[in-house]
Amino acid sequence: MEFLAVAIVASFAAIAGAFGVAIVVRSVVQGIARQPEMRGPIQLLLFIGAPLVEAVPILAIVIAFMLYGSL
């Protein structure tokens, strides 16, 4: 039962992280395709934005690790 809880937390964190980063990267690709000369600033925003989006799924996966470690 506890393993199921860990699995649910980890899988939802994976789904959330994947969708969040996918949205960010899609917008970045569209932005660079539209204005290739803005590649540098857009890539900087990618490297700042993707970690920010990823922060909450990372917290969830850390909680999953802590549950897994305390089993």
């Binding site: 900087l44 490297f47 917290l59 850390v62 690790f65 897994y68």
Partner: protein, 246 residues
């Protein structure tokens, strides 16, 4: 890893709240020694026309300078070149330490103690690194802008953002540390699982060899990327504190 592998923790004054993980102390010392000696011996022969190791170092410093100048003015950014180099190298070396192998010592009672892994796969270490970075942003904010401007910054652009700015400091510390820990620890867990699978039988050994190599390559990639992101976010948080608003 769970309860199968244990951490070699000693308690100061027999107080259960003052535990020190000896493996962490050892691994941090090793990481510091690697960074120090590699850079020390690379930078002994500095010449006007660079060759070999000096080329690598100059390329690396230029890379850090680009990272800094993409987030803040060079007037403030010139203070943070060495900080950026230190952070990116230390985090990178720490992430790489667990990739080639991991070591555990078995005692007479059959308990296994982990002695070699990535030191950044411990939350205590990454969180203290993140706390150090955030405290340093406050120190440099006070130093470069003065106490008056630093205090005023909490009420900009509008005064009711003050509570959010306080919360931001704590959540920045938490996410900065937890991001590094989550990535590196996930890498270590999967690596230990693959090794456990591979050593359970000859057929499994053949089956698990290719995924392990793939995962090691991916772990190297993650380690480098996380070191870069840690350095980049340090500079972003630093620029929030030291940049002059107009």
């Amino acid at each position: 890893m769970g309860d199968y592998y244990r951490q070699p923790v000693v308690f100061l004054f027999d107080n259960p709240n003052l535990g020190i993980n000896l493996a962490n102390v050892f691994l941090v010392t090793v990481a510091m020694a690697i960074v120090f000696f590699v850079l020390f011996f690379m930078s002994r022969t500095i010449k006007m026309y660079p060759t070999g190791a000096q080329n690598v170092l100059e390329f690396f410093i230029q890379f850090i300078k680009n990272v800094i100048s993409s987030t803040m003015d060079w007037k403030q950014g010139k203070h943070f070149v060495i900080l950026g180099c230190t952070i990116i190298l230390y985090v990178f070396v720490s992430n790489m330490m667990g990739i080639p192998f991991e070591m555990a010592a078995k005692t007479d009672e059959g308990l296994k103690y982990v002695w070699w892994k990535s030191p950044t796969s411990e939350p205590i270490l990454t969180l203290s690194l993140a706390a150090m970075v955030i405290i340093m942003t406050h120190v440099y904010g006070l130093k470069l802008k003065g106490p008056k401007e630093y205090g005023k910054d909490y009420f900009r652009p509008v005064f009711f953002l003050f509570p959010f700015k306080i919360i931001e400091d704590f959540s920045n510390t938490l996410t900065l540390g937890m991001r590094l820990y989550g990535n590196v620890y996930a890498k270590e867990v999967l690596m230990v699982m693959l090794v456990g699978l591979g050593t359970s039988g000859v057929l499994w050994g053949i089956f698990a060899f290719a995924p392990l190599v793939v995962w090691q390559v991916f772990g190297t990639f993650i380690g480098g990327l996380q070191a870069f992101i840690f350095c980049m976010l340090t500079m972003v948080y630093m620029s929030h504190k030291v940049n002059e608003e107009h």
